[in-house]
Symmetry: C2
């Protein structure tokens, strides 16, 4: 059969990219992960929000919860006043670094050409 791309081994639901967008979903997912990877140390919520500007508080909270459940980020709460919560990228999360570095580099080289 010719041109039956849908029967390729990794097409459709078996595509790693479809899995990716289903497991690591949301507009801000990549920018947040990349920022945590670059910082590579514990960051407070508000510091992180400023670094991923202009993300909203709600969205950052939601994404961090998602990453926590996926073992990509750790969350540590300190019993202090004022409250302090620190987020840090995990080893699993760090393993995304080469890929995300590559994506960042691609954007630096081609962002201009993409217009707008």
């Amino acid at each position: 059969m010719i041109n039956n791309f849908s029967t390729l081994p990794e097409a459709g639901e078996n595509c790693p990219m479809v899995s990716f967008v289903n497991l690591i979903s949301g507009k801000w997912a990549i920018p947040i992960l990349y920022r945590l990877i670059v910082i590579d140390e514990p960051v407070r919520f508000s510091d992180l929000q400023r670094a991923v500007y202009p993300i909203t508080q709600k969205e950052l909270t939601r994404q961090l919860r998602q990453f926590e459940s996926r073992q990509l980020v750790t969350r540590q709460v300190f019993a202090e006043v004022p409250p302090r919560v620190e987020y840090q990228i995990t080893e699993l999360g760090k393993s995304l670094r080469p890929t995300l570095d590559s994506l960042a580099q691609w954007m630096r080289e081609n962002g201009e050409q993409l217009g707008k």
Copy 2:
């Protein structure tokens, strides 16, 4: 100043990742581009839709228009009956291949650990 990550050179709006998610947006963007890159030849609309299953017709159309405007994909219409329209990844689009291959490989290696 300590922990002022928001003043890093590529933080916030200057982050290449924020640019990326603004220029190449939508849940299906990466799966579609990856599929077109792997196929690496002209594909008809309906073949592409089957290969990126389960994307809807509406969403595939919308994304392809976006990619066309960003010079990532070409669209060629044939004056035939029945009509034929073929989409193909551009050189600019292909330059994303190493990055997307890396992402796909990461998913193959770590998808299991991400759960669900």
